[in-house]
């Protein structure tokens, strides 16, 4: 980065900007191997729930917690060259970052209430367990979530797990095939994102070597 500005420098700056934007995606919208870990978890938990009814279903219910754990681990891994936070494109205006944070925490709490209501339909025995999980998740989420994108994905997991997924598990055999396909899709998405990241690391190293 010592030569005068010329067309080749301009091209390198464009490349630098592109690499930065792609690297930043691993702070919010790209989760690397995190979906793959979650897919693996869902396969194991649903297999256990098939042979170990009740307690196995509680393992499936832990999915949002596993997701947040996987997200935190993936971020630490993929942003090990220094954290770069992606510019978030929110489809509605947020006056200040503080109000945005309150909004997405509100979404999480709304999802908790929905999740507990759904769990109560599965039977009173699981209600206390679900309530404890969905009170614990926002406490973890405030440390892990970095924006609206994360909040929407995490809330989506809560709705999926406590809404459709647990009912699917109660009605075999088709639900297990659907779940297995879903989990395989998550694993494939995680592996694909990881391969994209490996290419990005090579681009980052090439930029550094040319500097």
């Amino acid at each position: 980065m010592s030569e005068p500005v010329n067309p080749s420098t301009t091209a390198r700056l464009d490349e630098l900007a592109a690499v930065t934007r792609e690297y930043a995606k691993y702070s919010r919208t790209s989760f690397g191997l995190a979906p793959a870990w979650l897919g693996g978890w869902l396969l194991v938990a649903s297999a256990l729930s098939a042979v170990w009814r009740g307690s196995g279903a509680n393992l499936v219910r832990l999915t949002p917690v596993v997701w947040l754990w996987a997200l935190a681990k993936a971020r630490a891994h993929y942003q090990r060259h220094g954290e770069v936070i992606e510019e978030e494109e929110v489809p509605f205006p947020l006056p200040t970052s503080e109000s945005g944070r309150r909004l997405f925490l509100g979404m999480i709490y709304f999802s908790c209430v929905f999740g507990i209501m759904e769990a109560s339909r599965s039977g009173p025995g699981t209600l206390l367990f679900s309530a404890a999980i969905f009170v614990a998740v926002p406490a973890i989420a405030t440390r892990v979530l970095k924006g609206i994108t994360d909040a929407v994905v995490t809330a989506g997991w809560m709705w999926t797990v406590n809404g459709s997924l647990l009912r699917w598990l109660d009605a075999p055999p088709l639900p297990h095939a659907v779940l297995a396909t879903f989990a395989a899709g998550l694993i494939a998405a995680g592996v694909w994102q990881h391969s994209k990241y490996l290419r990005l690391e090579r681009r980052l190293a090439a930029l550094r070597d040319r500097a």
């Binding site: 630098l16 900007a17 592109a18 930043a24």
Partner: protein, 107 residues
Amino acid sequence: MTDPKAPSVSALLELDRLVHEPARLAILTVLASAEEVQFKFLEEALGLTRGNLSSHVSKLEEAGYLVVTKAFEDRVPVTSYRITARGRKALESYRAAMLQGLSRGKA
């Protein structure tokens, strides 16, 4: 007769010299591509030494082109930077002037 396609020398001489320095131009380019960037990433991506990077960042901060946030994560000090609206505008103006000058030079 003056060639209307000739590069405007006065416009080039009025370029923001703070942005014109290649390392600072690269720093602003990285910051303009994200919401917040840690010192470590700038060091990794640009291949600058810590001292050199700190010096350039200080100059950009003094000009109001970026803001610095210092925090502790797991008891480790972490420094992050955000480009300001003023910094973004300076970078855009600089790039526009340079690209215009370069394209006129080619014509």
